[in-house]
């Protein structure tokens, strides 16, 4: 029998991979994907807790997270598109005019 802990550890691992991915990748799109990974990890955590607590709240939360994720991606991609129009192929590291 798989206990909740396994799910949670899996989620933690996924969250970590997402976080590390955001830190090491330069392509903004892939960075967004990493955020999605992190959100997915949270979703898994929510659902696991919900089941353990015998509570639907976790699942409802995931529902909202999904909506937020979708909206976030739209906005994020819109910004990326706008930037790419001016500076095609710009990586996250290229955008460092503001500093200091």
């Amino acid at each position: 029998m798989v206990t909740a802990t396994w799910y949670l550890i899996l989620a933690a691992g996924l969250f970590t991979i997402g976080a590390v991915g955001l830190l090491v990748r330069r392509n903004p799109l892939i960075m967004f994907m990493c955020v999605e990974l992190m959100l997915n990890a949270v979703n898994l955590t929510f659902i696991t807790f919900g089941r353990e607590l015998n509570d639907i709240g976790g699942q409802v939360s995931v529902f909202f997270v999904l909506v937020v994720a979708a909206a976030e991606v739209v906005v994020g991609l819109a910004i990326v598109v706008a930037i790419n129009r001016r500076r095609p192929q710009a990586t996250a590291d290229d955008l460092s005019a503001l500093r200091g």
Partner: protein, 186 residues
Amino acid sequence: METAVFIVCAAIVLAGALGVVLARNPVHAALSLVGTLFGMAVLFLNLEAHFLAAVQIIVYAGAIVVLFLFVIMLLGVDRLEDLSVEPITGQRTLAILVGLGTFVLAVAFLLSSSIGPTGPKILTLDITENFDQYSNLRQIADVLFTDYVYAFEATAALLTISVVGAVVMSRRMARSDEAQESAGDD
């Protein structure tokens, strides 16, 4: 059975995640993401979140990843990223250390604690008690339109923003010498 499903799905999820992080081609990364999302959906099923499993596929794999791919194609940003170089000194080492730290600490917290309060629990809606009578969808709907009705309505604002935002950002800005007239005719 559940264990087997978990192991397989976990493997898929992690592999997909690693694929996202390690793929040089953004298209490959997006496809790896799809893998993760599918694995996740199955795990949701495993956890008796049927509705969310479906939404996961439809919204995530179906809409979000497609959006990603669409943008990749639109912008032609499918150039390979050279992952052997890290321009920022120490970034990768620190990132991995931080990742390890987060993971180890999170696991330590998870393993050391019990879930839920020691006293009486406060349930939004008891899953098991009503499981026989209601579908998962029904349960979620119940809560969504009662206790979470405000949140549900708020998502409308969220979506409006994303629409307006996308429109604003995708507007082609006239060159600065045309700025005056373009401001006028909008």
